[in-house]
Each structure stands twice: as structure tokens, then as C-alpha cells.
Amino acid sequence: MLHIKNVHKQFDNGFLALEGINLSIRPGEIVSLVGTSGCGKSTLLRIVAGLDFPTLGEVSIDGEPITGPHPKVGLIFQEARLMPWLRVAENIQFGLSHLSRLDRQERTEAVLRKVHLSNFAEALPRQLSGGMAQRVAIARALVTQPDILLLDEPFSALDAFTRTQLQDHLLEIWEGDYPTLLLVTHDVEEALVLSDRIIVLRPHPGRIHRELRIDLPRPRRRSSLEFQRLKEQLIGELDLSPAVPDLVKLGGVGSGG
């Protein structure tokens, strides 16, 4: 169980990024944080990851407060962040130095199968496409067998087709052993396709504005009427200023977090 209790974050320059965030996520749940730029969604994810610290409040996993990167938490960023000098298999084993060689190899083969990249174990990152690199990043996060996966706009750097593919792929992986997924995104469709719950944040300061429960059965059809209705509702909750009306039509909302 992941608990976020009364988290405030004020940066050194005085900017109040988050105020009074309370959120509990049960094991196996898929939760998305959405909001316009500056709403603090990425900051919140970094705090949960132990890469940043709240000014006030606490994040805990199974009752244990987070003080730094947690071994039971896997991280996937917008960029794949693979070490360019390591081959795919070596990149995946990066955090496994405590295991025996045989264990490492077995686990690596298993996760590579999961992301359909078994033939690329010996490839260098520069030989991979953006989508493949991101799948390696997913495999690297999965290999430590985390209870919680944190994803910071994981597919936003990819083309629309690859993005859709990887979203489906992520669900396929999730249906294997049901890790908790906490996802930051500015893509409304992505949030709707994946999530059990969508947390809408609003900026100045970053606060939880609304929580939407998505009860549609999976796999979800993007073209269904119900999906479209929820999409409209979600866009309505985001409080888009008139400066960005074009983006609404395209299905994306703002950029960055």
C-alpha cells in the first residue's frame, strides 16, 4: 500500500509546487496523475520515487517512510536513460549486482521475453529505435521485480503508433503479476486507457482537484461512446486556459509537468 500524506513541496526559490497532497493507492491499482504544466505531477512522482523530498508531509510504502530510492519501486522516465556503453542485457542487469550470475541471466532472459526483445540482448542502445529503447527501460525496471512501478510520461517522446502499442504492452505486462502503477501523463487518452483512477491536479499551487474512477472493462476501445464521454469530462476537469485550445482537439493537453 502506497500512502501519500499531506505532502507539501516548496522549492528553494519559493515556488510552491505541491500543497496538501493526500493519496492512497492499493496494491495492483493503476493510477494516473494528470494536469497542465506546473501542476506538480512530476514533482509528486519524484517524491514518491525518493529522488526529491517533501517540505512537509510523508510518503510511505507498506508503512515504511520513503527516504531515498526504494528497492521495491521501479522507475521509468520519459527518456529510456540506457547507459550507451552497455549492451541491452548489461543495461537490464545494471541494478542486479547483488545476485549470482546465473540468477541475473535467468531474470534478464525472462524480462526480455516479456518485452519481446529476446533477440536484442547483445545490441547497443544506439542500434535501437525509440520504442525499443523504452521497452528495454521497462524491462530494466521490471527485472528487480518491483511492487510499484512509477512512470513519468513514459511514452510521450514516441510517435502515436508506437505509443498506443506500448500502452497495450504495458497492460499486458501488468496482467502478469499486477504491480501497482503510478503514472504521470499529459495524454488524456493514455490516462483513460490505462487507469483505474485518474487524479486531476491543478497548478498554483499544485493541488488535487478531482478524482475520477474509471470502471470501463479492459481492453478499452478508444472509439467507444463511453470512452469519448469520459475523455470530454476529463478535459473539462483540466481547466485549460484559452491559450491552448488547439491542443484539446489533438487529445493532448499542455506539455511537461
Binding site: P69, P71, L75, E79, R81, M83, W85, L86, L124, R126
Partner: protein, 267 residues
Amino acid sequence: MTTTLRHSPSRLSSLPWDRVIPWVVPAGLILLWQILAQVGVINSRILPAPTDVVQAAIRLTLSGELFKHVTISTWRAVVGFLIGGSIGLFFGVLNGVSRPAELLADSSIQMIRNIPHLAMIPLVILWFGIGDEARIFLVALGVLFPIYVNTFYGIRAIDPGLIEMGRVYGLGRRQLFSQVILPGALPSILVGLRYALGNMWLTLIVAETIAASSGIGYMAMNAREFMQTDVVVVAILLYALLGKLADSAVRWLEKVTIAWHPSQKLK
């Protein structure tokens, strides 16, 4: 050229043309030089024929003189390089990973870097006399800065996302350095190494022609006094050869250590 290749692929493609073609121009120039020297268009005092240069090289080799001078020059180069290179690497790494160290030392190093090191020759002779210490000091000075600058910027240019990845996996400072920072900075360090090796020979040539009683530079200056133009040309060719050897060594090093880098061709 392309049409010829297309018409008779079986015979011509068996030759490694990519390797042959770069040698066509230098070989032609040497041939022209030989002809012009033999018919007397070029005075042998100005430039001896290639065959005379080869003969001089053979003579010097057989007498053991060449070997002696090359050995002593190489020794000076290597010692100076090791001293200057380690100092440059040390400060490059230190200032690269530590902001306080950078604040303290970088601007001073940059100031010294902007002095042409060969301008220090009079001062260096006053300090060390005209012995090997002076030459080694100059070589070390010439090697230090390219290594320093490229190590420093190599470390600073590492993607902060990769360093954060290291933190995510709980790497300690030492592991972070050996597994992320050093491999990430290596391509840049090797660029520095290449510049440093160029500087190394350049500095040594100048230092040996000014005050020395041995070494390739001395051999050339000594030959000049006796109007042995062929020996002077041998000395110049030797520097070219040694420089090329050093460069090939770095290329080989790049091939084995940074095959992953975009500058390297993948098989």
C-alpha cells in the same frame, strides 16, 4: 572509375580499392620528386632525392645512431606524457566531479593554459638548465591541458539522467564514478589524448632543436651544421612516422573501449 568497376567487377573488386586509392597521390608525388631530383631540377642541397633519403636512413640505422636518438626521444616523450597526462587527468576528474574544487582551481588552470607553453622556454632553461628535466617539463606542460580540458568537459557533459539512474540503483560515489561517470567521459578523454599526443611530439621537436645533445631533434640540427640535408629529411619523416604511430594507437584504443559511441562505426 565507377563505370570501370561496373564493367569488370570480378577482377577489380578483388582488390581492396578503399585501401589503395589513398596512397595514389603520395606515391605519385614521391615519384615526381625522384625524377625531378635525378634530372637536376631540384638541387640535392635543397632537397635530396628519395633514394638518397632512404640510403641515409639505412646508414643511420646500421650505425646504431638512429636507434639511439629515437630511443632517447621516445623516452622523453613518454615520461613527459605520463607526468603531464596524470596531472591533467587528476585535476580534470577532481574539478569535474567537485564544484568547490572547480571554483578553487579551474580559473587558475585556465589562465596558465592560455600561455603558449613554448613561450616558457627561456624561463624553463633558467629553472632546469638545458638537461632532460627542461624538455620533460615542457612536454608535460604541453600534454597537461588538452587532457585536463577534455576530461573536465567530458565529465560535465554526461547526461544528468544517467547519473540519476545510478542514484536510483543506489550506487555509492565510487561505483557511480566507475560505472557511469568514467565510461561516460571516456570518449571526450580520448579526444584529449589525441590532442595531447600531437602536442607531445610538437613540444619535443622544438625542445630538442633548441638545446640537446641527443634525440631526433638534435640529430636534425646537427646534420644542418654539416649540410646533410638527407639526414634532416630523415628526422622530419621520423617525426611524421612517430606521430602517425601515436595517432593509430589512440584509434585502436577508441575501437576497443568506446565502440558504443556514435563516432565509431558499427560492424
